[in-house]
Symmetry: D2
Subunit: 215 residues, 4 copies
Amino acid sequence: MAMKALVTGFDAFGGDKVNPSSAAIGRLKRRISGLVIHTAVLPTSYARSAITLRGAIHEARPDIVLCVGQAGGRRELSLERVAINIQDARIRDNDGKQPIDRPVVRGGPAAYFTSLPIKACVAELRRAGLPAAVSNSAGTFVCNHVFYALMDMAGRHGLAFRGGFLHIPYLPEQAARLGDQPSMSLDDIVRAIEIVLAVSAARSEDLHTAEGRIS
Amino acid sequence: MAMKALVTGFDAFGGDKVNPSSAAIGRLKRRISGLVIHTAVLPTSYARSAITLRGAIHEARPDIVLCVGQAGGRRELSLERVAINIQDARIRDNDGKQPIDRPVVRGGPAAYFTSLPIKACVAELRRAGLPAAVSNSAGTFVCNHVFYALMDMAGRHGLAFRGGFLHIPYLPEQAARLGDQPSMSLDDIVRAIEIVLAVSAARSEDLHTAEGRIS
Amino acid sequence: MAMKALVTGFDAFGGDKVNPSSAAIGRLKRRISGLVIHTAVLPTSYARSAITLRGAIHEARPDIVLCVGQAGGRRELSLERVAINIQDARIRDNDGKQPIDRPVVRGGPAAYFTSLPIKACVAELRRAGLPAAVSNSAGTFVCNHVFYALMDMAGRHGLAFRGGFLHIPYLPEQAARLGDQPSMSLDDIVRAIEIVLAVSAARSEDLHTAEGRIS
Amino acid sequence: MAMKALVTGFDAFGGDKVNPSSAAIGRLKRRISGLVIHTAVLPTSYARSAITLRGAIHEARPDIVLCVGQAGGRRELSLERVAINIQDARIRDNDGKQPIDRPVVRGGPAAYFTSLPIKACVAELRRAGLPAAVSNSAGTFVCNHVFYALMDMAGRHGLAFRGGFLHIPYLPEQAARLGDQPSMSLDDIVRAIEIVLAVSAARSEDLHTAEGRIS
């Protein structure tokens, strides 16, 4: 039977009208390297995002879950290494909530590492001409919250999927409005998501390459 | 009779294998908003670039000349406001030459302003979803040299064209090799050049909008 | 009896002749807000740094441990929130070792949070005119390694200290050599360390302020 | 008879309460390397700054004029190479005026080059452990306006001084308020100004070193 992947994006937040993550997943092919692709758009809400994610996972029963979110200001595609058990909101979420220093999961471990082969993904993205890097922080807003909740479902609730998080730059039209911000075209973002899914389907062991940061 | 535009790019330099400026002009349409498009690739050489440019101008007899060059590290399309009469090379050019603090044109004025409607171009690029800005320095390498030589041909030798310079970011594949650099897709760069040409053909007076910088 | 603090820096690495962290701790006062100050310089070595740190802790028996390290490229003082259980070296350490994706502590938790009041420190640093922020990643080099090892000593080995990590920018003389890098004066760095120690001695509960990051 | 230097700063603008340039010149020594130092604070006003400057020059009759201004966001001390004949204000000046694309001096040349030995200054600043660079744009706000007006006084009105412009980063206390901005201590800025003056007094010919920029 074919492997399945669930790919999620977020709705717009912080005054933006568009979120490149949901724009991108709306353009994914139905099948990528033998994977059957399911998608879901998560609300940019601490209270509701993980519930929506859990529902989508229970419905799709995926082998791989890739959550995608916008990282405004980054120049490259970022494969996130680790999710931390903290909510610390610099701005209000789409419910008007701004939690400070609260855990994503009360009593949960301090962090989870991704179970996707992020270094192999980075290598393949670069080979395809797309700038990419491993990131060691997904922030403390709803992206990190969803990433932590995702890995907690796999880690503690024994759901048999591998999971990870991809942060993407602004779209050019966002940068055109904001001024002096790096961006990436939607075509390239869609292509990047498909590469991450294909690499994740093809291999479970990661590459042994140096992609760390000094600080 | 149809108006004509000459659009130039540069060959690769500084160890790169590609220069996005020549890649982009190779993909321009033959006609853009009624303009007949001529193109030329200039050598990244202080000694030879302006000669090649002059030859191309004498051959094409253009109404508009747009020179395009790579500005590695910039996040946006940059419409250059001013060319200065200096050569100060941080690296060697493609002839192995590295002039320091020499004039582009001995006895020439300290600077020339562009004669293209750069603020109208910036406004139209943004409207098309492409990040863009006015820049007040084209550097001191071969880009500025060519831009100065171009404006000197119009200014002192009375050639009847309007001229300007567009700096473009790295391509994604360059950023993928270099790491942590902003980039722009070739499709968007080509689209940007066509917009700059169309706006330049349509209007000679510029917009009266604030696009200055504090420092 | 007076409270004691241990403050550590690192020796130079990566081709630098100086490490601002050890330069700074060499200039600390002996007593800060009632704290008796002990210092130690740690080798920039995965194999030896934590051993040296453990020895210094056993000798000084501190109430507070603040490890300080250089974060080249950062513009602000960074109070680190979390240490992760990974070694992923982009460059060789001072023993010539470059571990990739190995744990700091085999079987240890994925991460530890700091036990210093980092938001109160950030607030007080800003009040003193020093730019500061909470950071969510100490990287994956020896700084993070030491920070994780430190919190593991407190967390699993029951040593009764509170611990944290402060990342500091380049010194101006480093930036003068490197070119186009942000920096901070040694005087300001010394002052910052003293403020972090004073705030940490004065309060164990942190401030409830938003210092998170979106990504 | 002793040589004289006039050093100017600006008053605060754009909502800031302090301008590091006037803070710094208030702390200069009265004599620097044999130069007698005069100072003046210029209003951040297109209409009034050059008049105040002209008055100070006529009073002090200096051999050297160094204008100093804040370049928020820069990481290094910047010795400006060129002033351009344009006013293009991104924000209002302290008179509430925001000129767009108007000349500093009607009928004046497009630009003036500095007559200070900026590369020798950069070299000496670096030797003193202070990060510094040659800049090819002083922007289009009041800093460039004053720099152009200064060089125009020397160039067209035959006043026998050499002149230049130094852009300085934010102070740490400004960066502490603004967040994630590079800064430089006031002590280092004062030291930098004194070095620029000493080098300018000691030599009129500049060094023949590569300090150009590609773009």
